[in-house]
Amino acid sequence: MSVPVRKFDAVIVGAGGAGLRAALQLSEAGLKTAVLSKVFPTRSHTVAAQGGVSASLGNSEPDHWHWHMYDTVKGSDWLGDQDAIEFMCREAPNVVVELEHFGMPFDRNADGSIYQRPFGGHMSNFGEKPVRRACAAADRTGHAMLHALYQRNVRANTQFFVEWMALDLVRDEQGNVQGVVAMEMETSEVYVFQAKATLFATGGAGRIFASSTNAFINTGDGLGMAARAGIPLEDMEFWQFHPTGVAGAGVLITEGVRGEGGILRNSAGERFMERYAPNAKDLASRDVVSRAMVTEINEGRGCGPNKDHVLLDITHLDPEVIKSKLPGIREISIKFANVDPIKAPIPVVPTCHYQMGGIPTNYKGEVIVDEKPVTGFYAAGEVACASVHGANRLGTNSLLDLLVFGKSSGNSMIDFIKTAPKDLPPLAIGDVERSLARVERLNQQSNGTQVNDARAAMQATMQKHCGVFRFKDMLAEGVAKILEVEKMVKTIEIADKSRTFNTARLEALELENLIEVAKATMISADARTESRGAHVRDDAEDTPERPNGRDDQNWLKHTLWHRDGNQLKYKPVTMKPLSVDTIALKTRSY
């Protein structure tokens, strides 16, 4: 076997906010750093973030990192690790001000300080009243962040490998990580990127669901690569959903539409929210609305040929009101649902938005397996689980996560690289050969399954059996079904076997990553018999001992899914912060 090898101090897979922040740390320390990305760095999915990044700067009114920490622990429904959450909230003002110095064009107050706006879940004085904590650059916060970090990396001589796809992790016999196998898209040539330290910053995997707000690129490659290399995935049952995305497309319809008088209807045309929330009706909270929608669909009252969505009706509103107050929504509906909402209702469905789980790390970005760091392996951003988001993420804490843990993992890598032997050890060949065999199977496969068919089967199964609101029997069936889909994925074939920019091959390789995430999600969700944060089951009853179905006695623990045998193990939640007292368990209510 002769695979060319390129050698670096550090290799980073992913050029979104997390990967770029880490790379900057390493390059500015003078280390030879490679960053691989499937797309041009500034087109990473971070570009989609609009809302902002949180930090208790207190520029408009008093704020404190300890209050931010309280909100984050509560938001996580106490599944977040309190050491990591303290670390993140304390670091937040530093990393945000640093980003400002890197040239990030934050919105400003008249006195020149960073302007801060209120955001759901941000409170002062331990949940007392809303506080302005979100920092934004107009409605382009993610975009501006990527540009600032990318420019700075170019200056620091980070070496970018754009339109390269990492295929697999390389570990030696002791399990130490040696780098990655990667494919250059233009030629389909496969190389090994060997390094002293390797970081995964590959983002989320929202495309496992039929309805997702995530761009097509979010295929969970880092999770697939980690799982194949024997690294467990943590808390994969926790995904954040929005109640109303356009069915079949995923584009969000803001909650403002219901505020303007929009009504949800089932296949009989019934305004079903009257049954679930007699007072608030269509303006009930997000989880109540999502739950009602899923119950309607599940009980056979969904709309369309597959009875898989409900309708959001604004036809009773004055067309002039729709045109003046909801022009964006009308445009989205016409474009993505082929429906003019002045004339007909919009098909909608609860839609996946954010992945709370991921590769298990500590707050230093070190990947942790069996309570020990995996030598040479780091992860940060949406692919990682530190765990600061626990069972549910607070808005704007994700961009913060990228900055804080991108930086801390960069620092951990620098420390490690400095103590590592100067010469790289001989490359272990086993994982490289397995990776090549995976590509070769795709080239040889005939009479197999089409990639689009297998992907559609996976997405439909996840959406139906493991969506925003979950049912015991559906989950059990879902486990059997997703294992069937896995068999389909094992035989996927591609018609186009050419070598230059073969999109079909790339999509097949991505699907092999998505299926690992889908299995982890379904199996972890089936096992967790409580409701907590974003994981909500109809059989976890609301009782005085278990408010909202949360069962702290049995389930205050992190799930660890292992690919080998689909085994589940658990580890305790870190309840002890770094310097302050534990934020004690309480019922989560807003």
Partner: protein
């Protein structure tokens, strides 16, 4: 146009924003095969736009200031009707 260039364009039609992915998917399937060499090259240039600007032009929220790119933006918009 060489095959490699055409395929590079296909890959670059994958963006950081879902709304662009969906609109370009339609455009690539329905219109791309009918484009001339020169038009393909122009589409390749359009793909170099930053995602947030690109989406604003395609949605018609903002007029594209680069007159050379406007005809191609209009064709992408037309493919959505």
């Amino acid at each position: 146009m060489e095959e490699v260039e055409l395929k590079r364009i296909l890959w670059r039609s994958r963006r950081g924003l879902l709304e662009l992915d969906l609109q370009l998917e339609r455009f690539v399937a329905e219109v791309l095969p009918t484009l001339s060499e020169a038009e393909l090259a122009l589409y390749g240039d359009v793909l170099l736009l930053p995602d947030q600007d690109f989406l604003a032009y395609v949605n018609g929220a903002v007029a594209c200031p680069n007159a050379r790119l406007v005809p191609m933006i209009e064709r992408i918009r037309a493919a959505q009707r």
